[in-house]
């Protein structure tokens, strides 16, 4: 294939990936729509217990409710609970008059969820193919993140990647609807507003630090995005638990307990924070020293990377401070992700400074 062919294929792959993300999103929406009429199968009131004692954490939920010693604690348990619905209906046959119908619906819920994940994987593969061919579609061949369009596409891929990598470990399927919605919005905005044709890099980006710095920033920001989704859902779930408005059906009811959401959010953030530190405070400054002759110069991009770092540092501290745990920390995490987004969108497009590589005039 010629350079131009690669570039054209990249555009098609990204467009195709967006469409598949839309389908994945619809599948997850349908999953939750069906779930509205299927009660959560954990013993009724287990959530109410959790609400009465919201500090129960980690392994506490698993063996008590399911009798299965699940690795990964309650996160795994709540996942298995749902996964088991299709297979082990016997134990629940006596739940009510509509048991047969209910279990059929439960099966659909499970199927739709799996379809959503499968479509997300497919979309991610197309997304990756689009990125790779974008790099091959430039002469000379280069990394596919040299302007705003490419940053958006690469950054969005980072979010899907983190989600899929952690999907099994933390049983994140409940996050699928948010992740796919995020991908659809970002890719569409990138294609509609930010697109520039493939071409060579500006000289300022001729450096292997472009690979190290940007890859680290993308992974760190991707983790923050996934963490923000977990924190947002934690707030929703914790609110329902605290108010006692938790029903037995619907999306909120099927989310893991708030303590589990909190723990997942923490782990993802704890993974992202050192990587962000490396991207913003090690790789960035070293490159800046080579390129501009100063390792830190309070350029707007640097200022906001620093602000992001400080906010997430506050998040980690808040988790260890009485009165800030839980809700306070989750709000801080959301603020942190807002600063990431502002740094990316606001500073690239409206700001001046040395990091203006948007490629848009």
């Amino acid at each position: 294939m010629s350079t131009a062919d690669f570039a054209a294929f990249s555009n098609n792959a990204i467009a195709f990936a967006s469409v598949v993300y839309v389908f994945a999103f619809v599948a997850h929406l349908a999953e939750w729509a069906f779930a509205r009429s299927v009660p959560v199968t954990a013993p009724a009131g287990s959530s109410a217990v959790a609400a009465a004692e919201p500090v129960a954490v980690g392994t506490s939920g698993a063996p008590v409710t399911s009798g299965v010693d699940t690795p990964g604690g309650a996160a795994g348990a709540s996942y298995d609970r749902r996964a088991d619905e299709g297979r082990a209906e016997d134990g629940r046959a006596g739940r009510g008059p509509d048991a047969g119908e209910l279990s059929g619906r439960a099966l659909s819920v499970e199927k739709l969820g799996r379809i959503g994940v499968a479509l997300t994987v497919l979309a991610a593969l197309l997304h990756l193919a689009g990125l790779v061919t974008r790099g091959l579609g430039s002469d000379p061949v280069r990394v596919p993140w040299g302007n705003m369009y490419e940053f958006s596409v690469a950054g969005a891929f980072g979010v899907t990647l983190i989600y899929l990598v952690l999907l099994r470990k933390y049983a994140l399927r409940w996050m699928g609807v948010l992740v796919t919605a995020f991908e659809v919005v970002v890719l569409m905005l990138a294609v509609l507003l930010l697109y520039v044709p493939a071409g060579p890099l500006v000289p300022a980006l001729h450096s292997y630090w472009l690979v190290i710095h940007v890859v680290a920033a993308v992974i760190g920001a991707g983790a923050f995005a996934v963490g923000a989704m977990a924190s947002a859902l934690f707030l929703v779930k914790a609110r329902a638990e605290a108010r006692g408005t938790l029903r037995t059906t619907g999306y909120v009811a099927r989310l893991p307990e708030s303590s589990v959401l909190d723990r997942i959010a923490y782990r993802v953030h704890a993974f992202g924070f050192p990587i962000w530190t490396f991207a913003a405070l090690v790789a960035g400054p070293i490159w800046a020293e080579y390129a501009w002759g100063r390792y830190w110069g309070w350029d707007p991009k640097e200022v906001w990377a620093f602000i992001t770092w400080v906010v997430y540092a506050a998040y980690l501290h808040a988790r260890a401070t009485a009165g800030w745990r839980g809700k306070g920390a989750a709000v801080i995490a959301l603020i942190g992700f807002a600063t990431v987004l502002f740094n990316f969108v606001g500073i690239n497009l409206f700001g001046s400074g040395l990091h203006s590589y948007s490629g848009l005039d």
Binding site: S60, V196, I307, V311, D361
Partner: protein, 542 residues
């Protein structure tokens, strides 16, 4: 930072010493640290919105010109140099004090904890968050030593408490001491980074200079166009290197939708590290600076310097050479002036644009179609009169002082303008002289700077990350095993306790149980009955 104990919310009316102690506790509390972190984040924001003097002095001037009423207010608030301002500094200094006030006591606690023995087993192991209990047919003493080995193999620090005369006993174990060490290392490293940063801003310097192709530069204060020294930097600290810019090359994309984008630029330097040292060559490019002892040279920009010859009204060459024109946009249409103080009978001045690839349209007038010098044209407005160079006041080389200058006029009364193509000579009206466009030189903008302490800062951040990884991913844990005789068999109880949130304690205790059973089986006769008696998991408070 200093953990739980919430400080009192209002100061008790007490002696100065107690008040001081109260204030210190307030300052070093985690709550205060959190608030200071937020303040730091907030305080950093204005510097990314209002132009900053240290970053772009020209932008500051432009902003001040268009906001004359806000300027004095902003000036007072230090908004044009946020990161040196009193309020920004006081936030991070308070934060650092709070940090020190937190590290010191925690180091003391950690030191004691390190040397202490793991705490003895609680009376009822079954009440701990994770516990297992099973019976085996192994003598209690062997079971106890098997427990010790099992815990050691998981890298626990182990302390054995023998019971009376071979009747069992207990093992206390603890691991994950490095978590707190990582935490402390992280916070100390931040201080190291700050020290490195401070060294750089006190003893460092940053200067900018424009050098035309073929010309040289020697590292002394008078050679710089702009120079920003650190507070403790002296001009004698400049190391005496010299260099000449032999050539500068730039390539632009010539076709495609991104035509005009530069793809590559680099400059050939010949340099000597100190007078008398051998000459060396260097290919200077973006991302490829020349690093010398006591300073590095960076290529930060480039532009055009048209070469002209100006003859005055008496026919003599009054000026010859390149003049630096500053690019206005990505098409490299560049603005500049040519001053001819030696022209007779009147001084001459020229102001206008250099267009590397000439284009003309009715809407825009003359403009540049492409950034490379493919069809260069000078479009100048000539002036005559007094350039004002004799007043003694310093003047910018990029501006004409037009107080005592007049334009030439056409017969129609319009200003007389010259469009000169490369190689052309144009006459000024009324025999005032002529100007010849001889050629085009390029110039490079170089930055020479030194930031001592950068290695300290880098080392500090790397240590901080190391500490961070330890403090986030090492799990401090305690585990206990108790062995006792019951009905002729040996009952083994095993329990674990996480000292940090978010661990998988159940997995850990399972693994301990597996290792313990392995050792029990190896150490004693095979025991088919070694099945669990109970498995307990208790909810715990975080």
């Amino acid at each position: 930072m200093t953990a739980p104990a919430a400080p009192p919310s209002s100061p008790p009316a007490l002696t100065p010493v107690e008040l001081g102690r109260w204030a210190w506790r307030q300052l070093t509390s985690m709550r205060t640290a959190l608030i200071l972190l937020f303040l730091l984040a907030l305080a950093a924001v204005p510097g990314s919105i209002v132009p900053q003097r240290d970053i772009d002095a020209i932008a500051v001037g432009r902003w001040q010109d268009s906001h004359p009423e806000l300027t004095p207010v902003y000036e007072k608030l230090g908004l044009f140099s946020v990161y040196d301002s009193v309020w920004f500094s006081s936030i991070y200094i308070l934060l650092m004090i709070s940090l020190v006030g937190c590290i010191l006591p925690r180091t003391r606690v950690y030191w004691r904890g390190m040397r202490a023995r793991p705490p003895k087993a609680p009376r009822n192991l079954g009440r701990l968050p994770e516990s297992r209990s099973f019976a085996v047919d192994v003598p209690p003493a062997s079971a106890l030593s098997a427990a010790r080995e099992a815990l050691r193999s998981r890298r626990y620090r182990v302390d054995v408490h023998e019971g009376d005369a071979g009747r069992g006993g207990s093992v206390a174990a603890e691991r994950g001491y490095l978590r707190e060490a990582g935490n402390l290392l992280f916070h100390v490293s931040l201080l190291v980074v700050l020290v490195g940063f401070a060294i750089g801003s006190l003893w460092g310097y940053k200067g900018g200079v424009i050098v035309v192709n073929g010309q040289g530069f020697s590292n002394s204060l008078s050679q710089y166009d702009d120079f920003a020294p650190g507070a403790l930097f002296g001009p004698d600290d400049l190391s005496p290197f010299e260099f000449t810019v032999d050539d500068f090359r730039v390539k632009f994309l010539e076709s495609g939708e991104q035509a005009g984008m530069p793809t590559e630029f680099s400059a050939d330097l010949t340099y000597t590290e100190r007078p008398g040292a051998p000459e060396k060559k260097y290919d200077l490019a973006v991302n490829h600076p020349l690093s010398l002892d006591g300073g590095s040279v960076f290529l930060v920009g480039h532009g055009y310097a048209p070469r002209v010859t100006v003859r005055d009204g008496e026919g003599n060459v009054a000026y010859q050479g390149p003049s630096i024109f500053l690019p206005q946009d990505s098409s490299f249409a560049s603005f500049g002036v040519i001053k001819v103080p030696d022209a007779l009978p009147e001084q001459l001045g020229f102001e206008g644009l250099f267009l590397p690839t000439y284009g003309f349209s009715m809407e825009r007038g003359p403009y540049s179609r492409f950034p490379d010098a493919l069809d260069p044209v000078l479009s100048l407005l000539p002036y005559r009169g007094d350039l004002g160079l004799d007043t003694g006041e310093p003047q910018s080389v990029y501006e004409l002082d037009k107080d005592k200058l007049d334009v030439f006029e056409k017969d129609t009364g319009a200003d007389f303008r010259l469009d000169i193509a490369l190689g052309q000579t144009k006459q000024l009206p009324n025999g005032a002289g002529s100007i010849t466009f001889d050629g085009v030189d390029r110039w490079v903008k170089l930055q020479v700077s030194d930031s001592p302490g950068k290695r300290i800062a880098l080392g500090g951040v790397l240590l901080a990350i190391t500490g961070l990884l330890g403090s986030l991913f090492i799990r401090p844990r305690r585990a206990w095993v108790r062995v006792r005789e019951e009905d002729g068999r040996t009952v083994v109880e095993l329990a674990g306790l996480d000292r940090s949130a978010g661990g998988d304690l159940g997995d850990e205790v399972d693994e301990l149980e597996r290792r313990l059973r392995e050792r029990l089986a190896a150490g004693a006769l095979p025991d088919p009955d070694a099945s669990p008696v109970t498995t307990g998991t208790n909810p715990r408070k975080e």
